[in-house]
């Protein structure tokens, strides 16, 4: 026990003596947490539209006005050449092209039927889909107006009409930041913890001080524990700073119990730090440690469900996320912060991450050899 205490004292001193690392550990996550959520806005708004009007009729005018008046679209150009419109798309100045063919009004009135052409820039599928959907709903609205001009609608609904109402639970204002901030916080805590712990043991190897530890009677598990605990404390401090920033800047107050977050984070950090230490025992240089842990982190983070929904990934990737500790923490964070889930709701997440922690740390202890 005494050995562990002394070891901890050494580690803490080492951490606090390097102001550059310390500064970076706290300031970088804080700055990123303040700035990054502002960038994270998937919402499709201000779709840039280019209208090609070959018809120049009252109806084409009316439709154009209706589109401009809606909040979804920003009119980039109103022209009568499709080539010109396409050039706007090529230069990324327009997302959608609406082409109103010649004789549009005439056909509609005389033949009861007319066709509009939409061309969507589909490189970003979501934007194309939603932009198309908005545009079609405006067109069908316009269609209704046209019909009202020509036929006397009966007072009651002539045909069955299904009324669709929609509700948004948990985040009625559809604020994207409520969704992103908890997730980004998870990533920052994870990255700092994993990188620093991965670099730690290997640094002693590189500098040569590990020899000194190897000749002491310190037990292997004590050594690993001594490396683990300082970063565990730091991780929880970063989490606290992050939660304060989330509250002060974004006004996010967890709906659920804040203690739930801490309990989960405490266990989660054990798993992440264990992974870092395991990497550290495996490699010979800091460079290798950084590359390997970065490689893993990048996959964990990008497949963790922060940026893209896990449900839409292919089957093998979904199976992989079951072994991804980051995805569990992101999910838990969102559940507790936004939905107010309780410790009971997240019990399976907690159990799985606990197993990760035990397995990874045992591996790290087992893999650490006291001779070179």
């Amino acid at each position: 026990m005494r050995a562990l205490r002394i070891l901890l004292e050494k580690e803490f001193r080492q951490v606090f003596r390097d102001p550059a690392i310390l500064r970076m550990m706290f300031i970088m996550p804080a700055v990123q947490l303040i700035v990054m959520p502002l960038a994270a806005d998937y919402e499709v708004k201000n779709v840039k539209i280019c209208i090609v009007d070959y018809d120049h009729s009252t109806y084409s005018q009316k439709l154009t006005n209706k589109i401009v008046a809606s909040n979804y679209f920003k009119l980039v150009d109103y022209t009568d050449s499709y080539e010109k419109a396409l050039e706007h798309v090529e230069k990324d100045e327009a997302d959608v092209v609406l082409q109103i063919p010649a004789q549009f009004e005439k056909q509609l009135v005389k033949e009861d039927k007319s066709t509009l052409f939409l061309a969507l820039n589909a490189i970003n599928g979501v934007k194309a889909n939603l932009g198309g959907a908005y545009l079609r709903s405006i067109i069908s609205d316009f269609n209704r107006d046209v019909r009202l001009d020509w036929i006397q609608m009966p007072r009651f609904n002539p045909v069955p009409l299904i009324e669709i109402t929609s509700l948004n639970w948990f985040n009625p204002l559809m604020n994207y930041r409520f969704f992103m901030v908890p997730g980004i916080l998870v990533i920052l805590v994870t990255m700092t913890g994993a990188f620093l712990s991965a670099l730690n043991i290997v640094k002693e190897k590189e500098v040569g001080t590990i020899e000194q530890i190897n000749v002491t009677p310190i037990r292997k598990y004590q050594f690993i524990l001594g490396k683990l605990l300082p970063f565990w404390v730091l991780g929880l401090i970063i989490l606290t700073i992050g939660l304060i920033i989330a509250y002060v800047i974004y006004g996010i107050v967890p709906v659920g119990n804040i203690l739930t977050i801490y309990i989960f984070a405490a266990i989660y950090l054990l798993a992440v730090l264990g992974l870092g230490l395991l990497v550290s025992t495996l490699v010979d240089t800091q460079q290798q440690a950084m590359l390997i842990s970065f490689f893993m982190m990048m996959i964990f983070i990008l497949l963790g469900g922060l940026y893209t929904s896990i449900d839409s990934m292919p089957g093998w990737a979904q199976t992989f996320t079951k072994f991804n500790p980051v995805s569990y923490f992101i999910e838990v964070m969102r559940m507790v912060v936004l939905k107010g889930s309780s410790l009971y709701d997240i019990r399976s997440h907690l159990g799985i991450v606990f197993i990760f922690g035990v397995v990874l740390n045992s591996f790290a202890v087992w893999n650490y050899k006291k001779r070179s």
Binding site: V35, V109, N124, P158, N168, W169, R334, K339
Partner: protein, 381 residues
Amino acid sequence: MPPVQQKTRQQTKMKQFIYFIRKEFFHLWRDKRTLFILFGMPLMQILIFGFALTNEVKNAKIGILDNSKDEMTTEIINELEASRYFDIEENIHSNADLEKAFQSGRIKMAVVFPDRFQDELMHTNKAPIQLIGDATDPNVANTLINYASAIILDYQEHMKGFQQYPYTINSEVRMLYNPQMKGSYNFVPGVMAMVLMLVCAMMTSISIVREKEMGTMEVILVSPIVPIRVVIAKMVPYFLLSSVNIASILLLSVFVLEVPIQGNLVLLVSECLLFTVTVLALGLLISSVAGSQQVAMLISLMGLFLPTVMLSGFMFPVENMPIPLQVISNIVPAKWFYYIVKNIMIKGLGFTYVWKETLILLGMTVFFMVVSVKRFKTRLE
């Protein structure tokens, strides 16, 4: 000085330089593990992300609370189930079930039918359906509700006994550049930018600091070689390594991910090489600023990773960001590279469409190089 002697001096200088490059190659070549990671990592990443990353929404789990259980609701439920967007989660029989399913994250959206849905629709010609989205992720909620509404409206149009209205406007939709709406068209250029950025910046950022840490820097400082050559010699091996990576990434994109190269291949490759140099120079800049390997790595990873992912425009549209961030995004090299690759590779445009962006990357490269050579101190403090 006679001209002959000057010429030999030139030659020795050149020789020195070549020796120096060889030294850097040895460093890289001898560390087989790092080398393996450097070649393997980008390949794995492009494969994993190319297949797995998509912001399409499909197979989303939805709950259905059918209080009516009549012919029509069953038909609508079948329609929803048949679409590739939704998977129906069973076992929801009451409001409480619904709430629990949302709470535990089992479903993303719910469709609620009132009791006597069909009766009401047939007799009063009007009946409500309620869609409830889990708006913790507003984007997914919005998209799912839109998809579900479209399916229900479609059902309504084709319902029995419905006759065609006069004065109908049809719309014909064309998907430009990406007719199959594949997510990889958007993500491959983005992942390319990200992978090149991170691998190159990280590797070079360590290289100078490492010499400082190991103490070998002093040896270099007392040698007659000038700073600019040290800096360039450090870049050469990583530049070659990156060229191999670029080739393999492009091959994988075309043959495995089936994202075709629409534009000029030579142009695309030269833009990739230019970007590599930009990022290598950025790495050297970090290296000359940082005091230890740990600091260098933290800057190049923590400092570059999130901004590259978030500000380059491939995850989140830049035009949605607040103005200050839009301005900041301009200093992220990956943003320009992403734009260039998207235009050449996916849209098939020529140099006339990307010359401005190319010039910006070129300018950044020169800036990074000048600053890192200036900051390269010829003495240790």
